[in-house]
Symmetry: C2
Subunit: 215 residues, 2 copies
């Protein structure tokens, strides 16, 4: 019974890693679509999001089975519920990548992001990618050191988000309202993607250590 | 054992209703803060959000206890996990009300929303309030008829969101970039608040009927 439980939980954990890798990939593609106006990449984001949703349903089904058949208690129970929460965070990451791809499609063949704004968006995308990669690592190994780094990376994301808004509100902005609205929404999407990735990682560490990572 | 399970689940359900009522109240206060520049109301939103977070932790703790002590299976298990998902949605509703209050505080004593934009924001707030009220009703009674209405109300919210964006992108817009950025974020917050309220309601109906409401 015990070994069976660990084996099934390991299976859930592998699915979470697969989901998080897919969410990371979806965001990379969404960023290429956005900054290069690449329609094919944008369309692939929707497909990857569908795969993430399918994986989420598998995690849910497996979790139900585990709870029903094994009736775990104490830390075992906590681990199963943590996995369910992490899956829900990763599922949202896929949605947010899709929102970014949708903005790029709405402006196609034009590029939604004015040239001056691309460096900060590119940096936000890089931080998002780094956070997603660490979240994958934490989901694989429950490494508390990498989890603590997640918080620092998230601070960097918040700082970039402030820069983005300041730039659009500055006197030099000459791209009008439409690009600013897109910019504001894009900033929000990257930031939320990072938040969910940090949450997914932190939950796993909370499970292992019983403490939330420093915030 | 069985009666105990039903009694504890009823307790969880009461907490969910309390959470959803608090989230609805938080959003009403946030809207007053936003449209009337009322600082006191804005500050109360943060307090209400703290109450919602505390209720969420109680729901989580009770749910763990229920799962550990009663080891529910089949539809009982589904009901417990549904409650956990609904709680997570309602917790987010409180956060979104707080984001709206924060925008009003950032612009205080000015009012963040230009006069021409207030009618559509007011309408979005009304639809959000109606959806939250129905979601409370569905959480109390699992009424599938009201749940089906949730979807229609949500379509109305999406339509208002489109109107808001169209207005800011129209030739008549003369409030510049800052108000447009706020408007875009506000639109997103009201829309997400409604989405989470609809999700919370739908999950409960899914539990009762085994079918998702028409989407």
């Amino acid at each position: 019974m015990r070994e069976e439980f660990r084996a099934e939980l390991a299976q859930v954990s592998r699915l979470l890693v697969e989901m998080a890798n897919a969410a990371r990939l979806a965001m990379r593609k969404a960023t290429v679509a956005l900054l290069e106006g690449d329609r094919t990449e944008a369309e692939q984001v929707a497909m990857t999001d569908n795969e993430i949703d399918a994986l989420y349903r598998r995690v849910e089904a497996l979790t139900y089975e585990l709870l029903a058949r094994q009736a775990p208690v104490a830390s075992d129970l906590r681990e199963v519920i943590t996995a369910l929460h992490a899956a829900s965070d990763i599922e949202r990451m896929g949605d947010l990548a899709e929102h970014i791809a949708e903005i790029s499609l709405r402006r196609h063949p034009a590029i939604a992001v004015p040239e001056e704004l691309r460096p900060v968006i590119r940096e936000m995308a890089e931080v998002a990618d780094r956070i997603a990669a660490k979240s994958v690592a934490v989901l694989s190994t429950a490494d508390a050191v990498q989890a603590a780094e997640l918080e620092r990376d998230d601070d960097q994301m918040d700082e970039l988000h402030r820069q983005l808004l300041a730039f659009m509100l500055g006197a030099a902005w000459r791209h009008g309202v439409e690009a600013a609205i897109d910019g504001a929404l894009l900033g929000r999407y990257y930031e939320r993607f990072a938040d969910h990735a940090v949450n997914a990682g932190n939950q796993v560490v909370f499970f292992v250590t019983g403490e939330t990572a420093a915030s």
